[in-house]
Subunit: 229 residues, 2 copies
DNA sequence: GCATGCCGTCACCAAACCGTCACCTTGCTG
DNA sequence: CAGCAAGGTGACGGTTTGGTGACGGCATGC
């Protein structure tokens, strides 16, 4: 149903993705590098872009930036394919404005699920643009969050956690969802680990003057909310 | 809880997995090779398959491919057990359609965690839409009920109870029906417990300005109604 | 090698929530 | 209007859930 552009230089992976997409009722377009991807998009905008982190010539990150900088392509959601375990790239990737990440090696089912989720999330659109809430500002380059001139340094995990909250504010997220979105697929940690990071993040935010930004919804999870209740 | 099929020719490992599964509240089925596994699945589909990479006769990889090629078994998630940790076999494993892999030797804890993760991903979030009625707005995404701009915090049970009332408004529900729908059919609690929760819910709604929304029908049960009578 | 920082896990504590009961109020029936 | 049945309500332990401090492991940098 949906037109999905695959930008991936490795033929076998491109093929695997293509088959998966077709089987789940999508319409795959293929490109091997950034240039041909751009050319394809000139003709008609796809509904979603699957973008490999590493590409020959221009990297996937650069391409993502270009897509985000162009008014015409800004609204097209992007899912990044990245090798796993690279903390730095995960954080850098946040700058590019990708909507989701899938770490290689990935399962076709996992990929399909995330595509579905991103496409569904498109409809309400409206917000979830840049990261700008409550005077909070995230700086991916330095892992810092500045608030009221007060800057606090966060650990990588807390940084990604806060970033996720800021791009999905007001909604309640279960520990499972947070593990999925912030820690990533294929990682196995206890759900209670989320609690601890929430606590550390709260501590950091508090130190920067913001209080009670992250609320607990008993039995359901956590939420970042602008208004205290 | 979940029926999990173990396909593993080594008895000691099969036993270890079986114990682990039972301990984590699952229901293990066992098969020693691909053929008996297929036969077992003919009878009833399991919720998940734990598949050894190496099997006598037909390898686990082949079995995975066969399961993925068959419409009937395609939806069953697969976790691969592989002896070697090398990246290549992991990639291959996922290409065959496995949802995750665990490398031997594995810790029972890791296995349990991955099973949980895969099963969790199977049923995605129930993406419930907000329900709105008579100035009341109940939004599962934020887990909030707002009335006239006033947000009220509810406990989990009260939340489910109100949700049920709002999606089944204007009808009278007996305590038995409410226990069935809100608490679940396998829970054993006194019917009078419903009364108490009704009271708590009424209190919360009253605090938000809404009064007499939930009416008592003597001898029959309760009803949520827009117009007061 | 040693120090540092981050992370995941655990043990323990506090608070929230829940089911039940006892007792009171309401409403129906004769 | 007496008597009874059904529902309302406040209180109380028990259980579950989340908060928090501490600890060991691992990686990184010196």
């Amino acid at each position: 149903m949906a037109r999905i552009l695959i930008v991936e230089d490795e033929p076998s992976i491109q093929e695997l993705i293509g088959v998966t997409l077709t089987r789940t009722g999508h319409d795959p377009l293929r490109a091997n590098d950034a240039e041909s991807a751009l050319k394809l998009m000139q003709a008609e905008l796809p509904d979603l872009v699957l973008l490999d982190w590493m590409l020959p010539g221009q990297s996937g990150v650069d391409l993502a930036r270009r897509l985000r900088a162009d008014d015409r392509t800004r609204s097209v959601p992007i899912i990044m394919l990245t090798a796993r375990g690279d903390e730095q790239s995960k954080v850098t990737g946040l700058e590019t404005g990708a909507d989701d990440y899938v770490t290689k090696p990935f399962s076709p089912r996992e990929l399909a699920a995330r595509i579905k989720a991103v496409l569904r999330r498109q409809k309400p659109q409206a917000t979830e643009d840049p990261v700008e809430i409550e005077g909070l500002r995230l700086d991916p380059a330095t892992h810092r969050v500045t608030a009221n001139g007060q800057a606090v340094v966060l650990g990588p995990t807390e940084f990604r956690l806060l970033h996720f909250f800021m791009t999905h504010a007001e909604r309640v997220h279960s520990r499972a969802q947070l593990l999925d979105s912030v820690w990533g697929d294929h990682v196995f940690v206890e759900e209670r680990t989320v609690d601890v990071h929430i606590r550390r993040l709260r501590g950091a935010l508090e130190a920067s003057g913001h209080d009670a930004l992250i609320q607990t919804v008993r039995g359901s999870g956590y939420r970042l909310s602008a208004q205290k209740e």
